[in-house]
């Protein structure tokens, strides 16, 4: 340090000299600059009319001032946070060691900045409810006057007028405005308010619908229609409003507020009026239908009248039934009158007959008659009684006689019957004895015929064992067995020798068999045959 200071030959400057030198240098060097930055610390114009704020970016900031005269001419007013490109010069304040930019002109820094600004306004107005669907007014179906806010020259108004003429000829009022530039927004807002201020029946007719139109352009060109004054004038319009700003893809603030947003000016004309030819056709069609319908109504009425007329009965037919009833009733009236008369005549006749019957002469006559009748019937009764008794007596006498006769007849019969019985008894006894005798003889004869003794007489003998039991077979006789042999003339006892020889004794064995009944028969006679007889 000590070494360097003596070697310098730089002149010494006062602060003022330095500051003045800096001022000159800077203002010469930066007499005209364009600087891009964000508006900061902006609080609106000062009461003096000048505006003070800063421009900044990420790394630095610079004070900025807009003098009153310049501020009024700015196309875009500075807003806090707005990215701008400012044109101006740099000046310094030597007394403060400060510098600043004096802005001569300012514009938004590109589309992005404008879009951001537009978005901020849109959000703000939306928050106020100016875009609400409920605020939208319906367009009149058939407006008689249409107000158009646009430039009176150029393609836009021509397009609108042509399309209106094609669809529906109408009274058009054009409110001429500039559609871009510094005064544009104020003129458009004034036009909208001015149309609304017209008296409905004034010298200038009040439009039924407004069209706010502008042809296509850049965002900056359309910027007037993004201004808040235009948006608010549109929102306050009591006349239904159609907006048609730029091309279909361009959306401006007024498009959000308008009752109907048309994509193009031509479309705005189409939305504003119907097609007259179509209406005429529609009307003609309706009228034809109306005529046809009334004809059908009449035809239906006529048909039902005809049907009713057919169904209506003739006068004769209507009267027939009542007339018949009348006839029948009058006939019945005569008949019933006559019947009533007859009935009364009969009743009278009956009464008079009863009256006659109750007269004194009649009563006397009937009493006499009754008395005579009673006497006659008494005599008849006496005679009758006498006769009845006589008959009874005769009947009893007859029965008595008959009974006596019957009794004697019975006795005779009984005697005869007894005698007969005796005879029959005797005969029966005799018959029985004779019969039994004959049977006895027959039996004796038979017995005799079959007796084994007859066999014995023919030379045969009967062999028995010791106990007297007849022996039939030679085999039944054992050797040495005692046997008894009976012959016709008597019996011998013997003893058997040896065994039987089948062949020789065969005839013998038959014989006892044949004689067996005879043996039984023989015993019986020996038992007491004689005692039977």
């Amino acid at each position: 340090m000590a070494e360097s200071s003596p070697t310098t030959n730089a002149p010494e400057l006062s602060v003022t000299e330095l500051s003045s030198a800096l001022k000159r240098t800077i203002e010469d060097r930066f007499g005209y600059v364009r600087v891009r930055g964000e508006v900061s610390n902006y609080r609106g114009p000062h009461s003096s009319g000048h505006a003070y704020f800063s421009l900044k970016d990420q790394g630095a900031r610079i004070d900025a001032v807009v003098w009153k005269g310049v501020f009024a001419r700015l196309r875009v007013r500075p807003e806090e946070g707005m990215e701008v490109i400012a044109t101006g010069k740099i000046t310094t304040f030597p007394g403060k060691s400060a510098y600043q930019i004096v802005i001569e002109a300012m514009e938004p820094a590109g589309i992005g900045a404008l879009m951001a600004l537009l978005e901020a306004r849109r959000v703000k107005l939306a928050a106020e409810g100016l875009f609400d669907a409920g605020r939208k007014q319906l367009l009149p179906y058939l407006p008689s006057v249409i107000g158009v806010v646009t430039s009176p020259t150029g393609a836009v108004i021509r397009d609108i007028l042509h399309r209106l003429a094609d669809r529906f000829p109408v009274h058009v009022l054009v409110w001429p405005v500039r559609v871009q530039g510094e005064t544009s927004a104020a003129e458009v807002a004034n036009a909208i308010a001015g149309f609304n201020a017209l008296e409905p029946d004034g010298a200038i007719p009040r439009p039924d619908v407004l069209i706010i139109a502008r042809g296509g352009g850049s965002l900056e060109d359309l910027w007037s229609f993004n201004e808040e004054i235009v948006a608010r004038a549109a929102a306050e319009s009591l006349i239904p409003l159609v907006s048609a700003i730029g091309h279909e893809t361009d959306w401006t603030l007024i498009d959000h507020i308008a009752d109907v947003r048309a994509p193009t000016p031509t479309a705005a004309a189409e939305l504003s009026v119907p097609v007259r030819a179509e209406l005429l056709a529609n009307l003609a069609d309706l009228d034809a239908r109306r005529r046809g319908a009334i004809l059908r109504v009449a035809e239906r009425a006529r048909a039902s009248l005809r049907a009713s007329a057919r169904a209506l009965p003739s006068g004769e037919a209507i009267l027939a039934v009542p007339r018949q009833r009348l006839d029948r009733a009058s006939a019945a009236l005569a008949a019933s009158a006559r019947a009533g008369f007859d009935r009364r005549a009969i009743a009278l006749e009956r009464l008079s007959r009863r009256l006659v019957a109750r007269s004194p002469q009649a009563l006397l006559a009937s009493a006499v008659a009754r008395q005579k009748g009673a006497a006659r019937s008494f005599a008849r009764a006496v005679a009758l009684d006498r006769e009845r008794r006589r008959e009874q007596l005769a009947r009893v006498a007859a029965r008595l006689t008959a009974a006596l006769a019957a009794r004697s007849r019975f006795d005779v019969q009984q005697l005869a019957r007894t005698a007969q019985a005796q005879i029959r008894l005797r005969r029966a006894l005799q018959g029985a004895i004779t019969q039994r005798r004959a049977r006895l003889a027959a039996a004796a004869q038979f017995l005799n015929a079959v007796s084994y003794r007859n066999v014995l007489k023919r030379g045969f003998a009967l062999v028995r064992d010791g106990e007297g039991t007849p022996l039939r077979n030679a085999a039944a006789i054992g050797a040495g067995q005692p046997i008894r042999i009976e012959f016709a003339d008597g019996e011998v006892t013997a003893t058997a020798h040896g065994r039987a020889r089948p062949d020789s004794i065969n005839p013998l064995t038959k014989s006892p068999t044949a004689s067996r009944p005879a043996k039984a028969a023989k015993r019986e006679p020996s038992g007491g045959q004689g005692s039977l007889f």
């Binding site: 009149p140 000829p169 009022l173 054009v174 529609n282 009307l283 239908r289 109306r290 009449a298």
Partner: protein
């Protein structure tokens, strides 16, 4: 019949057309009595005539607002938009 044409004359086109449509529909349904049918038929006639007049009398008229210095409308003049 009971409605005078005067009340129809004040009707906007759209209202007159809507009423005419309603009348035609009613007649076509045939649900109205004959007398009523004739009545509304005649009203339909008047409505149709009114609509016709509104449509056929329309003519193109193009005017420009003339403004005073303070931006207020002074009057109109014909506009030739070319």
């Amino acid at each position: 019949m009971t409605d005078t044409p005067a009340d129809i004359a004040k009707l906007p086109f759209e209202a007159a057309l809507a009423e005419l449509e309603a009348i035609v529909e009613k007649l076509e349904k045939g649900a109205v009595a004959l007398e009523e049918s004739i009545k509304i038929y005649e009203r339909g006639e008047a409505l149709k005539a009114h609509c016709d007049k509104l449509l056929k009398n329309a003519e193109m008229r193009i005017e420009k607002i003339t403004l005073s210095a303070d931006g207020k409308p002074k009057g109109t003049e014909p506009l030739d938009a070319g």
